[in-house]
Symmetry: C2
Subunit: 303 residues, 2 copies
DNA sequence: TGCCTGCCATAGGAAAAACCTATGGAATTG
DNA sequence: CAATTCCATAGGTTTTTCCTATGGCAGGCA
């Protein structure tokens, strides 16, 4: 048995046929037929049911598929692990972050990281929580920054603390001169809220419900950036994470604290539990923790 | 990267050199040089330090070695897993047992198992606990029967219950007519005890110490069989597991129960936690549990 | 029904990979 | 200092993999 046979088999199962798999692998279809036949011969039984319109795995094939995938993932992991012991630190680090975290937090992390580890090629993936999770599980991401999340055991969750949410107002809004906004002040405002695709959108929705703030919600934005622009133009108000403060000010908004109970959202860092954690990933985590402390999201920097 | 390269690399590390590994693998030494060089090239750094007298792995090599072994083990496991879904049940089942369990218990398990699963090729390994453990971890054994044992997390321990120990006497011994032997009866006897290599030997030693039975130990046997023969010839007495009763009787001994607190030893079945458990292994486990219940070692047959 | 299309298997030759024998250099040992 | 041990390299051979071409089978469509 050889690894290329496993790669071929996995592709055939996933593509549902030899021809499509051949295209994906950039090899001729007979090569696949040959290698799969060899594999089946070695294992002593067919792995695929050849149907007129493609193939589906047999029972044995399904079992083998799962294991083949794991083995290939481990091979990739071994490669990364070995590559990681080169000096100085180099390689690629793929960081995921949700859209309501990325613009506020990542700039604070990426620049210092690049400075400290110039050899590491950074890549950022901004996406919604569930999709980040899936990509982390697949091994595409080294780590991910999300808010509250429910994960499977293969994913390691680690809190970075809690980030306050503030009230986003146009600079010339009557409330904008206050030091602090009270919940009751918000009841009459026109709300611009984030789509509930975003966990922040869902959280704000729940918060307002709990606080009995019945906003006139008349605009659901897909991006916080859109909301900031709208607020800047006096079209309404909103809630935004504290890390968006500078961004909001620059666009002509104000981000003001809310009176107790101050709303907060949890910030979590996700790592894959089984895959090798590169030194770059660990360095990034350390930096993130440090940053969380500096921002007052948590008190100590120990785990 | 291909699996044969991993196999070669593992062999070179374990043999400490290309030449020895080549002999083990039945290939010419330059083939190894070539394939390892390729592997190192693909991983971007040397895995082995070439010394005048052989090779030792670099840091990267050590990391890679661990993972390569795991990958190869998973490949073997995948093969077994796939083979296991053939009907009827077939394949090989390798069972380990310590010498103080094997002769008494295995006959009760092997015959019915072979009858129920004629397609399964049974193999038995009789060895001391530690060595069975190691072989189980290596994947050489499917399961093992031992007494008390401390294991690492990769090994799954499951109690089959507790087997009583009896007193082994010559048939013509004055005590042999009793229904039950008392601890005090033993104090003046000449003891034949098992080498402390065996866990039963250690246990008997501790038991006697605890019960304050100071036997005149003058013979340390390496096998329980030897002890039975010696006892049969009136050379001394001993303690033996209850499952040796029939064997002892056949050789002209008697095995009698001891008064409370009746000494017992734990009987455990070991399985590897991570490796695939063949249906044959599970069937054997079921049979062992059933047998343990029939022998009165435990009350229920549920896990 | 009959043709067309998509899909996989087979055959045979070409390309690539792995392997082997022979040899050389480096360091150690007697 | 010669002999030995061990790994790397070179060059040719064998084996494996891969590709192109082709054939058979079944479903879809006129």
């Amino acid at each position: 048995m050889e690894l290329h046979q496993l790669r071929y088999f996995v592709a055939v199962v996933e593509e549902g046929g030899f021809s499509r798999a051949a295209a994906r692998l950039h090899v001729a279809q007979p090569s696949l037929s040959q290698q799969i036949a060899k594999l089946e011969q070695e294992l002593g039984q067919p792995l695929l049911d050849r149907l007129p319109r493609g193939v589906i795995p047999t029972d044995a094939g399904r079992r083998f598929y799962e294991r083949a995938r794991r083995i290939l993932a481990e091979v990739a992991d071994a490669t990364r692990c070995v590559a990681d012991c080169r000096e100085p630190l180099q390689g690629r680090l793929v960081v995921g972050a949700i859209p309501t975290i990325a613009p506020g937090l990542l700039p604070r992390l990426l620049s210092p990281f690049s400075e400290q580890h110039p050899g590491v090629e950074l890549e950022v993936v901004e996406d919604l929580t569930e999709r980040l999770l899936r990509r982390l599980e697949e091994g595409e991401l080294d780590l991910a920054l999300v808010s509250s999340v429910e994960v499977e055991s293969a994913v390691h969750v680690e809190s970075l603390g809690h980030e306050p949410l503030g009230v986003l107002l146009p600079r010339n809004h009557p409330l904008a001169r206050h030091r602090q906004i009270h919940w009751d002040d918000l009841k009459e405002e026109k709300a611009l809220v984030l789509s509930e695709l975003h966990c922040l959108g869902r959280q704000v929705h729940d918060l307002c419900k709990a606080r009995d703030v019945r906003w006139q919600v008349w605009f659901q934005a897909a991006h916080l950036g859109t909301i900031i622009e709208m607020v800047a133009h006096g079209i309404g108000v909103s809630l935004a994470p504290w890390s968006f403060g500078a961004l909001a000010e620059a666009r002509g908004c104000r981000l003001l604290p809310l009176s107790a109970p101050q709303p907060r959202r949890e910030i979590n860092l996700l790592l894959h539990n089984l895959r090798y954690r590169t030194r770059a990933a660990l360095a990034f985590r350390a930096l993130a923790r440090q940053c969380a402390v500096a921002l007052g999201w948590r008190n100590d920097s120990s785990e």
